[in-house]
């Protein structure tokens, strides 16, 4: 038998479907009421009333990517720290793990400081 | 600087200028060859120091066969003003640009180009400014007729 309460997660997973069902409901209601008179101009992309210059799918600036890159590494760090935080009160003597976590955070703080200095955190 | 002094200085700088102190603002009319040097002098000479482009436009004179470009300049430091005029040939209107001296003239000249068809030589960005790029004709010329408004202004 399961060690964890699958039912609880079942509800959470079900609510993913529930959200979708909600949108389906809303769109269905709108589908009954809404008009549909498309015309070529209406289906153009909005660009302040002008014909768009070039495709929108242009190649973007690397700055966005750098932000996401630093973010991924910090997200991993957060994922590591959650077990630490969860188990914190279970340790009779938390100083050892705290030191471990401190070193862990410290190394990544160095990484952050490096990225900061390198300007990876500068926006575009 | 008083009117007379001002115009004297202009004549000193450009002997071919026809000056006139009578009208509302002191006025100097210069031939096209002398135009650009005079303007440079007006800007650079510290005694004149015309640094402010008050206004710039053109007037069409079909009978005279000319489009007169009219420059109103002012000096912040001295507080004096002057009108400089330069005729462009109506058939082939060309006037040297002064947009490098007064950046504000860049758009003024574009407007004159747009509505009168005067070509400002060496202008960095001479495109129509008000009308669409494919507009035919120069609406502020006296002989401009548009089928949409012809004969009936309103």
């Amino acid at each position: 038998m399961s060690l964890i309460n699958l039912t609880a997660y079942g509800y959470a997973g079900f609510f993913f479907l529930a959200g979708i069902a909600f949108v389906v409901g809303g769109l269905a209601a709108a589908w009954v009421l809404r008009p549909s008179n498309p015309n070529p101009t209406k289906l153009d992309n909005y660009e302040c009333g002008e014909v768009p210059i070039g495709s929108a799918w242009v190649q973007f600036h690397v700055g966005y990517y750098l932000i996401a890159l630093v973010f991924v590494l910090f997200e991993v760090e957060v994922a590591f720290l959650f077990p630490f935080a969860g188990a914190f009160r279970l340790w009779a003597d938390p100083w050892g793990p705290m030191a471990a976590a401190g070193v862990f955070i410290g190394i990544l703080a160095l990484a952050d400081a490096w990225a900061w200095r390198k300007g990876a955190l500068e926006w575009l | 600087m008083e009117r007379a002094e001002l115009l004297a200085a202009v004549v000193a700088a450009c002997p071919t200028a026809a000056v006139d102190a009578a009208p509302q603002l002191p006025e100097a009319k210069v031939p096209r060859e002398a135009f650009r040097p005079l303007m440079e002098r007006l800007k650079a000479d510290p005694a004149l120091a015309f640094d402010y482009p008050m206004s710039m436009t053109a007037v069409d004179w079909p009978e005279a066969g000319a489009i007169t470009c009219v420059y109103h300049l002012a000096s912040m430091a001295h507080g004096h003003k002057i009108v400089v005029k330069c005729d462009a040939d109506r058939a082939r209107p060309e006037v040297p640009t002064v947009s490098d001296l007064w950046r504000g003239c860049e758009w003024f000249e574009r407007e004159v180009y747009d509505l009168f068809g005067v070509v400002f030589t060496d202008h960095p960005d001479l495109r129509r400014i008000m009308l669409t790029d494919d507009w035919v004709g120069y609406p502020l010329r006296k002989d401009y007729r548009d089928s949409r408004i012809a004969g009936k202004p309103y």
Binding site: Y11, I20, A21, V23, G25, A30, E47, L81 | -
Partner: protein
């Protein structure tokens, strides 16, 4: 002639109030952790366990959808009324008394709007994006603790789950931004994604500090731990700092002003949902409103004791869900207050705020909480 003495009958308004109060108290007592067991007991003999759970899940869905709809309606009206309050005007006041029916009129209008999909758009992705937005929001709503025992589900990893799932919303924004084939949308979507992911970090760290302090990840557990004192002060100065970080970063994570750059109308017209219309657009809007409520509710849950009453006021026996809604409402008001008073920050300033101020601050806060907890454990 002296006027007749006033009869000692309470004025009608008071009687109405008392009646409503009773009406509120009754379901509160009934719902607190008793509905689900009662239903399980009642249905158990007739249905297989899976069937019971299916019925319960369906009920949860219906109840939550009702809740979402009502909350969205109330919040749209509240937003406009709050805006009006800050702007010296009356706000909606034509439809129904005091404009109370205005949101209904809005819904009717939105329902009648044509649903356009740009020709150049990546059609399937364009159509799917609102579903994703709403699904992510619903998944967070599943663990909100309205009262003791009154939540759709209580996960062992509750707050970690919230952190993870609220990150899914960014996918919908990227989908919408990409699929619209519009420059404003794409730029808005990219900005939004960068913003959301950045502002996921410091709330996560603040949540971590609360977890560390409470010793549990269950949302209900965190609220239970605050019976003695709300985390706001139980955690010492770190509580206040943590709450401020959480509220600020939360506001940014849900793209609300002053951090509403993705849809900054003075720059990008409407950001990633520029091309959306009618109901599809309103689903984004709805998700945004619900996210605002979620951030407010989580702030209340993590720091203000959730459904726990304020110490001395416990004697009043005000039902927990009223506390919850009261605190969440107050936080919602604060978030709206932000929106209607601050100018919008610029995108690089926004990133600077997160990466150079909030993130280091929340790390320090976490360390502070760890020390505080370790010292308090002895």
């Amino acid at each position: 002639m002296t006027p007749a003495p006033l009869p000692l009958v309470p004025p009608p308004a008071f009687r109405l109030g008392a009646f409503l109060w009773k009406l509120v108290l009754t379901p509160g007592a009934a719902l607190s952790g008793t509905v689900a067991p009662a239903l399980r007991a009642a249905l158990g003999p007739h249905l297989p366990p899976a069937g019971v759970e299916a019925v319960l899940a369906l009920l949860c869905f219906v109840a939550m959808s009702g809740f979402v709809t009502v909350t969205a309606l109330v919040l749209t009206l509240a937003e406009r009324k709050v805006a009006a309050f800050f702007q010296n005007r009356k706000g909606p006041n034509r439809v129904g008394p005091w404009g109370l029916l205005q949101p209904i009129a809005d819904v009717v209008k939105l329902l009648q709007k044509e649903d356009t999909v740009p020709r150049a758009a990546d059609r399937p992705v364009f159509l799917l994006a609102p579903f994703m937005a709403m699904a992510a929001t619903y998944m967070v709503l599943a663990v909100l603790p309205f009262d003791r025992g009154l939540a759709v589900t209580d996960l062992d990893l509750g707050v970690l789950y919230i952190t993870a799932v609220s990150g899914l919303g960014v996918l919908s924004i990227l989908m919408a931004g990409w699929a619209s084939a519009n420059k404003y949308s794409l730029l808005g979507g990219l900005r939004s994604a960068a913003q959301i992911v950045s502002y996921e970090l410091s709330p996560a760290l603040v949540v971590l500090s609360v977890v560390l302090f409470s010793g549990t990840l269950s949302v209900q557990g965190i609220v239970e731990r605050q019976a003695a004192g709300w985390n706001l002060w139980a955690m010492g100065p770190m509580g206040v700092v943590g709450m401020l970080i959480y509220l600020t970063a939360g506001t940014a994570e849900i793209n609300r002003a002053p951090f509403d750059l993705p849809e900054a109308e003075s720059e990008l017209t409407a950001g990633y949902h520029t091309e959306y219309s009618g109901m599809r657009f309103s689903m984004f809007q709805l998700a945004e409103f619900m996210n605002m409520f979620v951030v407010a509710a989580l702030t209340a849950t993590l720091f203000l004791g959730g459904w726990q009453p304020l110490g001395p006021l416990a004697a009043l026996h005000i039902p927990g869900y009223l506390w919850f809604f009261g605190k969440s409402g107050a936080m919602v008001f604060v978030i709206m207050w932000f929106r209607w008073t601050f100018p919008r920050v610029r995108v690089d300033q926004l990133m600077t705020l997160e990466w150079k101020i909030l993130l280091p601050l929340s790390f320090l806060n976490l360390i502070g909480v760890a020390l505080w907890t370790a010292l308090g454990m002895k």
